[in-house]
Structure formats: C-alpha cells, structure tokens
C-alpha cells in the first residue's frame, strides 16, 4: 500500500513538471503573436494582421473555407484572425467589453448594441471620421439614406454599420390554411373570423385529412405566448392595427401619430375573446402554450402525405410544413373581424427584414484603422454583398457575365436552399450592402416567400410606413430610458403572457380586464408609452 501512495505522489510530481513545461512554451507563443500583430504592413505587399469576432450561425462552415472572404481580405491587404462564435455571445460579450479585452472588428447582427456603445464609452471607434476612406459605404449612405440614419447615434457619431439586403418581403408572417382539407370537405376559403370559426369546426369534427381518423386534426396552432413571430397577434390587423415585429413582441404599435400598446387595447380584448371561443371549442392545439419550437414544427410536418394542422402562420410553407406537405397549403389575405369596417392591416416588417443594425463594429484600440476600414470598404462593395449573403460566385452564385447573377440551387439535392445558404456563407448575419439595382435571380425558397406574400399585398400597401409604423431601428434611446424601458417591459410581459394564456385557455377576460389594465399601468406600461412617444415625436419633428 505504501508503494501505491508513493506511486501516486510521484505521478503528481511528474504531471506538475509536465504542466510547468507546457506553460513555458505557451508563454513563448504568446509573445510571438504579439510581435506579429504589431508589425504594420499597409499597402506595400505585406499584409496587415487584424483580429475579429464573428457571431455566425452554427451551421455555417469555417470562415477559412469561404472563397469570397479570402478574396476580400486579399483585396484589402489584410489577414484576419477570426474567432467564430456560434453560441452564448451575450454572456461572453459582457465580460469581454467590461474588461476592455476586445478584438479589432466585430461582425454579426446587432453584435454590439446601441446600449453597449452608450455604456462602454471610448471602447469603440467612431467611424464617421473614417467613412470618407470607404467609397462603398458612402455609396450605401447616399443611395439608401435610411442606412445612415440607422447608423448615426444621437450625438452624430457612427459606431456600427448596418446591412441592407434589398430582396426581402414586407412581412415576416404569412397566413396558411390547408387548401386540400377545404377541398376534401367542400368548404370555401374563410374571409372573416366567423367563417374561420366554422371552417375550423369542420376540420375538427370531420376527417379533413381523409386518413380515416376524424380526431387527429389540429385545426389551429402557433408557437405559444403573445407577440413574437407567427402569432395570432396578426389577427389585430383585422381591426386595423399594424404590427411591426421589432416592437410588437411587447405589444407596441403606432396609430394616428400615437404610440400605443395593444396589450391594453379593447381590440386585443376582442381578439382574446375570439381565441377563447376557439379554444373552448377544441379548435386550438391544447399544447399551444407548452410545446417547444421543435415540437411546434414537427407536428405541422404530419405523417407522410397526411397533414395534421389546418390553419397556422409561418415564414414560408416549405419551412413550416416540409417540402412534402407544403403544396397542400394556401396563403390567405387578412381576415375581417366582426363589427369592423375599416381597412384591414397586417404586420409590416420591411425595415427589420431588409435592414440590420450594427452589423460591423471597430474597436477604438485597433492599431491600423485604415487597413480595417479598407476591409470594411471591400465588404460593402455590391458585388461582394451578394456573395456575403448567398455564397461565393462559382459554387453558390452564377455570374451570367452581363451584369446579372443567379443564386444556384444546393449542390446536395436533398438539402433545402435555406440550409445551403446558411452553411455556405455568413448569410443574413454578415455585414454588406446590396443595391436595389442589383440584378439577381433568387433561389426557389425566396421566390416562394415572395409568391406567398401576394395575398397580403393589399393590406400591406395601405400601410404608410411614415405614419403607421414605429421606427424602432432609427430611434436611439438615452441609457437611463433604455434601462427603464427594459425593466418595465420585463414586468409588463410577465403579466401579459400569463394573462393571455389564462384567458385563452380558461376564459375570464371580460371580468378581469379592468383590473388587468390597471396592473399593467403599475407594471410600467404607461411610463414606457410616454418614453416612446417622446422619442417618436422627436423623430417625427426631425424627419
């Protein structure tokens, strides 16, 4: 036994000796790399070394394998050491910024927020003084003045550059009904809430999918909660409310120059009553508030040719129902609510879909800012832009040689175009500018999105972005206001989510409404409305 102990002790000694050895060599490496990055090459052939962080989608392949990126770095005369982050960025970011231990460049959707710029004064480079070295960025600013407005802080400085991707539709949400079920049961397409109710009842009571089981149909489904994507809140459009997804997740919208919140609006109450009526009749998936996103998606994919879900919302049919079932579904225009005769509306997301805030940011500590700016300039060239978004010319994009381009289908026939795009390149997470004049034939997936948006066109064309949409992207809050709003929103949403779920499943909204509206005020809803109104008025007066 004594031997064993000595054996253990000597093992420990050996291991610690090895560890000590390792540390020596490691320290050496560190010094080397510091020396390496301090050498500045400029345009004289030797490449400038930069460091950068990108928050990319996890499916995205390593940056080293992207042809276009290599070309861009070469053209700019830089060699970038990328740190690729796919998860937990929020958690990493806090310590990284607070310790000042930052790389030269950050890339990603809102990778550093306006609130971060306000909080970490001096950490980030004001790009407004460098933009003149970047003609491509200047071109974006002049062709799309919105991009400049999005980038500019209250004091006129610019810390993060936005992206613009030109081709995306005006709304996130499309409304789907199973056309084949309607045909099977000899029903016509619903145009009002009441007709929808009747159709859903028929879906439930009869064997709509024709598989012999009359009880496996789920007439209606959504991901759960109130606000957010693919949510019944779009039904508020039936009573003229125009949602915009960047603020409607917390209920905010604009009407007649007033910032309002639908969570305490009578029309919302009416919608809740309608949803409760559906739920009581067994027309809504009983697990609507508890299923996770995976299950929500899986259920709609049915079994083979047998669909399970009758009516729902989604980005596009092939994503929502899978390639096999997608042809069964038809996209619907907004439905009419009873007792309402005004124009119908829908969620208007043109800005959040086509623009992105703070997609590339430079650290103020960057040693060679000119080189970093050269890289940014290359990135924002229109020909590079389509490659950032869809992949390299060659494998992903076809250059027709006459100034027109076409997005190629996936090399692996089993893969869908969306996955292909996200695996090949930075995609929507990147920083780029695609001008409206770009002649690019889109892939099958995007064409489908645009086709399925057609029925919503009338509702969306009556939306005036100037007066009906809260310009969330263009408004820069003071830090104190921002903090107050986020605290209040947490409180309000806690109350709203719980109440909404309770009322839909168990009813009771009529009796509890007034108390609820009062509670919302206490939770800070009115304070937030005042803050947002203040900024909105200010924005309107300067634009």
């Amino acid at each position: 036994m004594r031997k064993k102990i000595y054996g253990l002790l000597s093992l420990i000694l050996v291991v610690s000796a090895i560890l000590a050895g390792c540390s020596g060599s490691n320290g050496g490496n560190e010094n080397e790399s510091v020396n390496g990055s301090s050498g500045n090459g400029g345009g004289d052939g030797e490449k400038v070394k930069l460091t950068a962080i990108i928050t990319k989608h996890a499916l995205t392949k390593p940056l080293g394998e992207m042809e276009w990126l290599q070309q861009v770095e070469d053209a700019a005369g830089v060699d970038i050491e990328w740190q690729e982050i796919t998860a937990d960025w929020g958690q990493k970011k806090g310590t990284m910024l607070a310790s000042g231990d930052v790389p030269d460049l950050f890339v990603g959707p809102n990778v550093i927020t306006d609130a971060d710029f306000a909080q970490f004064q001096g950490l980030f480079q004001d790009l407004s003084e460098l933009v003149e070295q970047a003609p491509n960025v200047q071109q974006m600013f002049s062709e799309k003045p919105e991009t400049k407005a999005i980038a500019t802080q209250r004091d006129g400085r610019i810390f993060g550059l936005p992206k613009y991707q030109a081709f995306w539709p005006d709304t996130v949400n499309r409304q789907y009904i199973n056309q084949q079920w309607l045909d099977n049961l000899g029903l016509s397409t619903p145009t009002t809430w009441d007709e929808l109710y009747d159709v859903l009842v028929a879906f439930k009571e009869q064997d709509a999918n024709g598989n012999g089981d009359s009880s496996d149909e789920i007439p209606m489904d959504w991901p759960g909660g109130i606000g957010g994507y693919f949510n019944p809140a779009v039904l508020l459009g039936s009573m003229g409310i125009t949602l915009a997804s960047d603020v409607s997740g917390q209920g905010y919208f604009v009407e007649d120059g007033q910032v309002k919140n639908f969570l305490t609006d009578e029309r919302y109450k009416e919608m809740v009553i309608f949803l409760n009526k559906l739920y009581k009749a067994g027309l809504i998936n009983p697990e609507v508030f508890t299923h996770d996103y995976t299950k929500f998606q899986s259920v709609a994919r049915g079994e083979g040719d047998t669909a399970k879900v009758g009516f729902t919302w989604g980005w596009v049919a092939s994503d929502r129902f899978g390639e096999q079932l997608a042809p069964q579904y038809a996209s619907l225009p907004p439905l009419k609510a009873p007792n309402y005769s005004g124009p119908l509306s829908w969620s208007y997301d043109y800005y959040s879909l086509n623009f992105g805030i703070n997609h590339i940011v430079m650290s103020a500590k960057t040693k060679n800012k000119e080189a970093a700016m050269r890289f940014i300039n290359e990135l924002y060239s229109p020909k590079v832009g389509i490659q950032v978004l869809f992949g390299s010319i060659g494998p992903n994009i076809k250059d027709n040689g006459d100034g027109t381009y076409a997005v190629l289908p996936p090399q692996d026939a089993k893969m869908d175009p969306g996955t292909w795009k996200w695996t090949s390149t930075w995609a929507d997470n990147g920083a780029f500018y695609i001008s409206d004049s770009t002649q690019l034939t889109l892939g099958k997936d995007m064409q489908e999105v645009l086709t399925h948006s057609e029925p919503l066109k009338d509702a969306l064309s009556q939306v005036n972005p100037e007066t009906d949409v809260y310009p969330a992207m263009f408004i820069k809050y003071e830090t104190a206001d921002n903090n107050t709003m986020s605290l209040n929103n947490t409180n309000v949403m806690n109350l709203a989510n719980a109440s909404f779920a309770k009322w839909v499943t168990k009813g009771g909204v009529e009796n509890e409404w007034d108390a609820y509206v009062n509670e919302s005020k206490k939770a800070g809803l009115n304070q937030n409305l005042e803050i947002m109104q203040k900024y909105y008025d200010e924005y309107k007066s300067t634009n």
Binding site: R2, S16, S23, A87, S99, T294, R301
Partner: protein
C-alpha cells in the same frame, strides 16, 4: 452465506426491497433508454410521441453531424487532460487542508472555515475575477482550468466531515506517541483509511471538470484549447437556434430541422460514455467495510 431460517420479517423486507428497486430502476432507466433510441430516430417522430419503445426512422445522421465536427477530437483530448491534471491538483490542495481543518487541536480552524465558507456565498462577480485572471496571464491558457478553482469549499467540507467522523482521535494520539508527525500520519494512515472519501471527492471533482463549460466560455478564445463540453454546447445550442430564427431570412429549414433532436440526444451519449466506463472502477471503494478491513489486513 447463511441461507437458512428466513424470518417472516426478513421475507417482507426483501419483497419491499425488490419492489422498490424495480420501481426505481424502471423510472430511471426508461428515460435513459429513451435518449438512446431518440438519438437514432427521426426527430419529427420523437417529438410527436411516436417513439416509445423502439427507434423509428432509424438513421445515424446525428452522430455523423457530431463527429463531422473535427473540433470534437481536440475537445476530447483537451478535456481528458484538464480532467486528469485538474483532479490531481484538486486533491493535492484539498485533502491536506481538509485533514488540517478536521483536527480539533488546530486553533485557527474555526476562523479559516468561516473564511472559506464565506466565499461560497460572497464573491466579487465575474468582471473583477476576469480582470484578475487577465492580470495573472491565465486567460486563454489551460492553467485557468487547473489552478484558480482548485479548492472547492463544498468538497473540502465533505472531506473534513469525513476525516472527523471516520478517523478515531485515539489513532493519532497513539501514532504521535510513536513519534509520528502530522505529515507521516496523513500520508500513511489518514489517506489509506479514506479511500472511499478520495474516490468520492475525486469523482466529484473529476465530473466537475468533465462537465465544465463555463470556464472555457468566459476565459478561453483559442479553438485549440476548447474542451469537449463547449464544443458540444455549441453544436447543441446552434441546433436550437431555429426557434424564432427560422423566420427572418428563411434560415435553415426542413433539412436540419428533421435531425435537430438526433443531435441533441446524441450529444449526451457522446459526452457521457467515457464517464460511464469509469464508475465501476471506483465503485469497489464504496463497498461495506473496505476501510476497516484494509487497516486490519
């Protein structure tokens, strides 16, 4: 063993014991089995409840995806190293301290214990700790896995309690009579008598290192230094990203969705198998009487 004369009490006892064990076993084993079959089944069928007893729509896509990621192998190698070296250093720092704090004649022990326990509750927060690590040049080195958190106060307390309750005070007195110092007593008597303890605390530390992703998340940037868990967490979380993300730019759709769950469950198996192999080796130290027997034998 003696097999005769089972009293009726003994029969009832055995019946209850067997029933209880069977119940516990089923309740624990079924979900574990479920993970295994879910890791090779079609995710859509899993989440719609079609997979109950046998895998359906079998494919190994999830495992392919996991092992296609070359980082996995570096991760395994790093984790092995951090776990073994880390655990040894843990024990080296913890056990002697626990022994000292178990000695009633050591006057400073109450104060030191208090100072230690205090740190279980009060700490300066992540940012000052990060700054300290940076000043000590520990960030982005493997040392950060081994040195800074090498004394876990909770395990120290467990070890101390164990020393206190299982080493009879007379033992040291007798040894001291023979001129035995604390060093010798600790190495030659206390440690050999505490194999169960060393196994438990060692196992706790070891698994702590094995499962640790937070240290790497905050302090490590270099891909070459990343442990397995952070890589698996990346793979896992990124397959959840579709929630909400699918909408905005027509993100990865059906293709990846169909297998997201396979990856989710496969990750658990990939990360747990090595630990599963280890346990039976330690288990023998928890057998009844192993300690007293070794003293006498």
């Amino acid at each position: 063993m003696v097999r005769h004369r089972l009293s009726s009490g003994e029969i009832v006892f055995r019946a209850v014991l067997i029933a209880l064990c069977a119940l516990i076993f089923l309740a624990v084993a079924y979900p574990l089995y479920f993970i295994v079959i879910a890791s090779v089944s079609d995710s859509t069928m899993v989440s719609t409840g079609k997979v109950l007893l046998f895998p359906k729509g079998t494919s190994f896509f999830g495992y392919n995806e996991i092992f296609r990621d070359e980082r996995i192998w570096t991760g395994y190698r790093n984790t092995m190293f951090y776990t073994i070296a880390g655990t040894l250093v843990n024990l080296l720092f913890t056990l002697p301290a626990a022994y000292v704090l178990s000695r009633k004649e050591f006057k400073a022990r109450r104060f030191i214990m208090f100072a230690f326990v205090f740190t279980m509750f009060f700490n300066g927060g992540l940012i000052p700790t990060y700054l300290l690590m940076k000043d000590l040049h520990l960030t982005n080195t493997f040392w950060v896995f081994i040195i800074p958190f090498c004394v876990n106060v909770f395990y120290l307390i467990i070890a101390r309690t164990f020393f206190e309750s299982s080493l009879p005070p007379e033992l040291y007195e007798a040894a001291a009579m023979d001129g035995c110092s604390h060093f010798v007593y600790f190495v030659k008597v206390a440690l050999p008598l505490s194999k169960a303890l060393i196994s438990v605390v060692g196992l706790y530390y070891l698994v702590g290192h094995w499962n640790d992703f937070f240290t790497a998340l905050i302090y490590i940037r270099d891909n070459e230094l990343k442990p397995l868990q952070i890589i698996l967490r990346d793979i896992l979380l990124s397959n959840q990203v579709f929630a909400g993300g699918a909408g905005t730019g027509g993100a990865a759709g059906g293709y990846a969705q169909k297998y997201a769950d396979q990856i989710k469950y496969g990750v658990i198996i990939v990360s747990t198998l090595p630990i599963l192999v280890l346990y039976p080796f330690l288990q023998k130290y928890f057998e009844k009487g192993v300690m007293i027997g070794s003293v006498k034998g």
